[in-house]
């Protein structure tokens, strides 16, 4: 489709760009105290984009801008998810304590630029677009992670993030260059046809380039060998950014991996039984399965030994990336369906848990387990909400987390006996995660309050936490609406 006609498929992105430019111009005239208002402008732009996407609904999958990106229900589903995460982050940042004493205009501008980068990340079908969108997201997240200039932990977090981010994007770029060399084109589908003709001549090159590319993508979803940055950055960055980083780029990274592996290494049909073996003798499925298992176990085991709840949640988000990766090697219709449904519920429960930690941190200044002591007596509503999130993160029945895990495990088991060991490891990991999630519940209800912390005043965040808690509970019981939406958005563009 030519550039001009593709424009009218690009409305949400145009709205976001207009918001960014408007916010910068408006920010020039606000003083430091009033710079909080820029958040309202950002919110307006995001809600407008959200309304536009939900109203225009799903369209037939088409390629835009001569194959640079594609507009399809799969992309739109993830765009809605990203918009929800960003809107939540902006709402919560209004009452974040450590952001309140400095100029925050740029914080919101950079957040909307990250959202725009994530939009392109989930719809890119061209190597250049993949690389550029990952860079836009990474570079802006470097700055956001280090936004609290004076605070040592925040600057150290951004230093570690920069080093790992620049390093892994360099490695991914080298992998992309090898892939480009094999087929001479940057468009996903030309590469696929090119690789088909090559047959098995280029096994070593294909294996090397995919391993290198997975270094970049694995860094984005913090899969195990590339997860070292996650705990330090999550602990150092402002909590609203940590919550955002643990949800939105991870979901977008998953979408990118699905699209990348499906379009380039996949067989003919859309998510039909993929013959991984066509291109290389290396057992891809087992490799990815082992990676998923290792990511889960490492995330869970280290989370056991954490003293700070925020750090525990960071490791638990690595474990959840592992659960989602469990359905990747399967790459059948059910596998992707499981990942998409789990991404929705993961967003709800993870943001909820982080925001409860933020309420406690605002009141007491620390985020470790001691602050949760005796919360059951002092702030019963908050404690009950946190318990709901902990149950959901473990995957205990009446919550949405259970349904998400149910679909994931169903997809893995349905993929045949060769994946049973993966399902067993997944179940074991859920049991391990039961321990440290329930430890939080135990400290809240059954331990005496060591330090008499001030009364936790209910501010905007609590409403947000309630807004997140309701769907976590409802979808645990009645989840057909979400199931239908995910089913409808399973159509991905394949030329």
């Amino acid at each position: 489709m030519t550039n001009l006609t593709s424009l009218n498929y690009l409305q949400p992105e145009l709205i976001l760009t207009a918001t960014i430019l408007l916010m910068i111009v408006v920010d020039l005239f606000y003083s430091a105290k009033k710079s909080r208002r820029i958040g309202l402008w950002a919110l307006a732009g995001l809600v407008l984009a959200f309304i536009y996407i939900t109203v225009s609904g799903f369209n037939i999958p088409t390629a835009l801008f001569l194959g640079s990106i594609s507009s399809d229900p799969f992309g739109i589903f993830f765009k809605v998810l990203i918009l929800l995460a960003t809107i939540m982050t902006i709402l919560v940042s209004f009452s974040e304590r450590d952001l309140s004493n400095q100029r925050v205009g740029e914080y919101y501008i950079l957040l909307v630029i990250v959202t725009l980068g994530l939009f392109f990340m989930v719809s890119a079908t061209d190597l250049i677009m993949v690389y550029l969108s990952i860079e836009v997201v990474s570079i802006m997240s470097f700055v956001l992670a280090g936004y609290l200039r004076g605070n040592r932990r925040s600057s150290e977090a951004s230093l570690k993030y920069v080093i790992y981010g620049a390093f892994s994007s360099g490695i991914m770029l080298f992998g992309l260059s090898i892939l480009f060399g094999l087929t001479g084109s940057t468009n996903f589908f030309d590469i696929r046809t090119g690789l088909m003709e090559l047959q098995n001549g280029a096994d070593l090159a294909l294996m090397l380039s995919t391993v290198l590319i997975f270094a970049g993508l694995g860094y984005k979803i913090s899969a195990v060998p590339f997860h070292y940055w996650t705990p330090d950055v999550y602990e150092g960055a402002p909590t609203s950014i940590t919550a955002f980083l643990s949800v939105a780029p991870k979901a977008a990274g998953m979408a990118l991996i699905i699209r990348f592996f499906n379009s380039i290494l996949g067989g003919e049909g859309v998510f039909t039984e993929l013959e991984w073996g066509t291109f290389s003798a290396i057992p891809w499925t087992q490799l990815l399965a082992v990676l998923a298992a290792v990511t889960m176990t490492v995330g869970n085991l280290i989370a056991l030994r954490q003293t700070s709840v925020k750090r525990m949640l960071a490791y638990s988000s690595i474990a959840h990336a592992g659960y989602m990766m469990m359905a990747l090697p399967v790459l059948s219709q059910q596998g992707v369906y499981g990942i998409m449904i789990y991404a929705v519920f993961y967003l709800l429960m993870n943001l909820g848990a982080f925001y409860v930690v933020m309420i406690i941190a605002n009141a007491t200044g620390q985020e470790d387990y001691d602050q949760f002591r005796g919360l059951g007596h002092k702030a019963p509503l908050l404690a009950i909400l946190m318990t709901l999130f902990m149950f959901s993160l473990t995957g205990i029945p009446p919550t949405a987390g259970f349904i998400g895990k149910f679909y994931l495990f169903a997809a893995v088991i349905k993929a045949g006996p060769s994946f049973y060991w993966l399902a067993i490891i997944g179940a074991l990991n859920s049991v391990i995660s039961l321990y440290y999630y329930m430890y939080v519940v135990k400290t809240m209800f059954f331990t005496q309050e060591k330090t008499s912390i001030t009364q936790i005043e209910f501010k905007g965040i609590s409403i947000l936490v309630i807004v997140l808690a309701i769907p976590t509970l409802i979808f645990g019981i009645y989840w057909t609406p979400i199931a239908d939406i995910v089913h409808k958005s399973l159509a991905i563009f394949i030329r």
């Binding site: 550039n3 001009l4 430019l21 910068i24 920010d27 020039l28």
Partner: protein
Amino acid sequence: MYLEFGTVLAFTILGIILLMVALWLQKLLAPSNPSKLKQSTYECGEEPEGSAWVQFNIRFYIIALVFLIFDVEVVFLFPWAVVFRELGWLAMVEMGIFLVILLVGLAYVWRKGDLDWVKLNMKNARGRYRRFAEDPNSNKNF
């Protein structure tokens, strides 16, 4: 292609050789008996103290940064300038969007005062000079 860039290479090598020859000749012919006094750095006759690598202000980094970003913008202008006549108005619009976005960046940097070379900090600036009033949280030496 090789011919044009060959001459460029030849010229650079020639330049370097001339420089080296000049320095080498000076080393060969000029007498040199260094003494403590002659070796010390020359600071208009005064006694030099402290190191030459003095720490300079950070706002020069921002100016180098702004230079780099707009240097990159210029690089995109070159291919556009060669081609826009053939591509008609669409290329003009595309380049227009590119330039507007970076113009907003320039306005941001300009208004935030990152570009002014000398930052005035007056103790009690009133009225028109309120902009230069000492801001409380900036530490003086940087």
